[in-house]
């Protein structure tokens, strides 16, 4: 694995995923959903890229396909310059060590019949990162401390934890292998605000201490603004705008981005009551099929018809 300073950590090129589904018993009519339709972006080392957008626009699908949890219909994914899109499972394994995932529902992602300690230990075993028991235990205890959990909790089952604690367990497992990239698919949506804060702080600490990069999928734009370095905005399977966070928030160019930003609710009753979000009519402002992302300002890309 070459680690050239110029190659981004993750490079996604023209990624596509189409779902075909049967309709009716004999399914003569099959319907196609283009969940992602030519998505390109990259994530640098230690960078946090926020992925926001319409619900159903293909954010989760992008996350899953990048990690090869689902096979893409087209396009390529490079990790540190190495193409991982067609690798067979065994060759994929070293890359899996470098990329991890945290899901939206912290409970669903935990095995209800496994102690959280075992759950966090699993990657160490699979990747032979610690080969004797005590070493593993020490490593897991260390991971627990790192995510702010008492190592004494290792013997407990998931249902004995609060939502925030569960999400920490998931994160502990994700970072156990010291990955370079974490795909976080709405990791805080189900949590209450104070727990959201805990998790976001944790992400930030890990990024700083361990040098991790993130693909951070979220609906909560104020959290995205707080956490992310760059933001990509998705609409119906395509990225319509991508730019450094402040550029997006201060200078949104695509009408959908504008509409999105105008709709962020703020916890100030007085302001909230007066606000009128800018409407966005997809049918009217639909991007042309041949539209491409173009750099309109340094590092600021917008989907424009040629």
């Amino acid at each position: 694995m070459s680690t050239h300073p110029c190659t981004p950590l993750l490079d996604v090129k023209d990624l596509r995923k189409t779902y075909t589904s049967r309709q009716g018993l004999f399914g003569r009519a099959t319907s196609e959903v283009r969940a992602i339709d030519g998505v390109s972006f990259h994530i640098g080392h230690k960078e946090i890229l926020g992925l926001v957008g319409e619900s159903g626009s293909g954010k989760s699908t992008t996350g899953r396909v990048v990690l090869r949890l689902e096979e893409p219909t087209g396009g390529e994914v490079f990790f540190e310059g190495n193409r991982i899109t067609d690798l067979p499972p065994l060759e994929l394994k070293p890359y899996r060590r470098q990329m991890q995932v945290v899901f939206q529902d912290p409970y669903a992602a935990l095995n209800p019949r496994m102690t959280v300690g075992d759950f966090v230990t699993e990657p160490l075993i699979v990747h032979h990162l610690a080969d004797n028991r005590t070493e593993r235990q020490d490593r897991v205890a260390e991971l627990f401390r790192q995510v702010g959990l008492d190592p004494a909790f290792m013997a407990r089952y998931p249902h004995e934890f609060s939502g925030g604690q569960r999400q920490r367990v998931n994160i502990a497992r994700a970072i156990a292998m010291r990955p370079r990239l974490i795909v976080a698919d709405e990791p805080i949506t189900a949590l209450d605000v104070s727990i959201q804060a805990q998790i976001v702080n944790l992400f930030q600490d890990l990024q700083q201490e361990l040098g991790m990069a993130y693909l951070f999928i979220a609906h909560d734009l104020s959290m995205v603004r707080y956490l992310c370095h760059r933001v990509a905005v998705m609409l119906r399977g395509r990225i319509v705008e991508m730019a450094p966070t402040e550029a997006i928030f201060t200078d949104p160019l695509h009408p959908y981005t504008r509409s999105l930003l105008s709709a962020i609710p703020v916890p100030k009753p007085a302001i909230e009551r007066q606000r009128h979000p800018i409407p966005f009519d997809y049918e009217r402002e639909k991007p042309a099929p041949d539209a491409t992302l173009q750099e309109v300002a340094p590092d600021h890309f917008v989907l424009i018809s040629p």
Binding site: S21, R22, L25, F26, G27, R28
Partner: protein, 306 residues
């Protein structure tokens, strides 16, 4: 979808071929019909002559090839006992078997369905206790015991129904009921546990929150979703009954294929065994296909991925 059906059909043929092949070799390993076909005192030479006449003296592989070509032409050979085409003998018994199996399944499903739903919806009540105890009894009671008790009561003491035999609907009552007891016990237990699982589902709560009438909730939200394991079970049981229920057929002198096949096994009538088993295999595979289609009708999520 037509490809799907074609594939299923191919699989079915392969399965039937597998069964017939296995049975071919098993029967020839297990015994020799000649000693049973000839009267006592037959000399070894006579035995040999008959062996040769039945084609059982050739090497096994050669017998198999002959048999295989015959079967391809739809001919399962002449029965040793009946001296006529084995498939004909088997088909002759099918109507009785089908009659009994269908009535028993329908009766058992209705009773078991009612019992299971009552038990599930009246959790913790006396009714549940009674119903489930009966189901337990139904499962732990030997069929021959139940059958004979029913005969003694309804045919001998009360004289309401015939003791056995085949013909009028009244002949059907006792054997069908006996089988239905077993069927309904299985279905009741399975449906109850499956309904209890469904009852915990959020969408049942949604249905109640919609103020729907209990009947609507029961049919469309509870039953429909609890049906898959029950359908699997009904499939297995229907197959089992269509393949013949030896004990019931014996106790009630019912001329079904089950008894026929057992008789054929006892007398080592290979062609009838093979024809019978091929028939049963076809039934199983057919029912399986039906169950798979039913799965798709019941749950639109199934089969979506083909």
């Amino acid at each position: 979808m037509t490809r799907y059906m074609a594939a299923k059909f191919g699989e079915a043929l392969i399965a039937i071929w597998g069964v017939v092949t296995i049975v071919f070799f098993v029967t020839r390993l297990v015994g020799d019909p000649v000693a049973l076909l000839l009267p006592v005192g037959a000399s070894p030479e006579q035995m040999q002559a008959l062996t040769a006449a039945l084609g059982l003296d050739k090497p096994l592989w050669q017998q198999y090839l002959t048999f295989f070509w015959q079967v391809l032409g739809g001919d399962f050979g002449q029965s040793f006992q009946f001296n006529r085409p084995a498939m004909e003998v088997v088909l002759e018994r099918m109507p009785a078997t089908i009659q009994l199996a269908l009535v028993a399944i329908v009766l058992g499903t209705v009773i078991g369905g009612l019992a299971g739903s009552i038990a599930a919806t009246r959790r913790g009540s006396v009714i549940e206790f009674v119903v489930m105890t009966l189901a337990l009894l139904g499962q732990a009671t030997p069929v021959f015991w139940l059958g004979i008790m029913l005969i003694l009561l309804f045919a001998v003491d009360l004289g309401w129904l015939p003791t056995g035999g085949y013909g009028s609907p009244s002949h059907l009552v006792l054997p069908a009921f006996t089988l239905a007891v077993f069927v309904s016990a299985s279905i009741a237990r399975l449906l109850r546990s499956s309904m209890l699982d469904v009852l915990k589902e959020d969408y049942v709560r949604t249905a109640r929150a919609k103020g729907l009438l209990p009947g609507t909730i029961f049919v469309w939200h509870l039953a429909r979703n609890a049906l898959i394991p029950v359908v699997t079970m009904i499939g297995i049981l229907t197959g089992e009954l269509l393949g013949g229920s030896v004990v019931t057929e014996t106790v009630f002198a019912w001329p079904g294929v089950g008894r026929l096949i057992v008789q054929a096994i006892e007398t080592k009538d290979f062609p009838v065994i093979q024809a019978g088993v091929a028939m049963i295999a076809a039934i199983y595979v057919g029912i399986n296909l039906l169950v798979d289609l039913l799965y798709m009708v019941i749950d639109p999520r199934i089969g979506g991925r083909g």
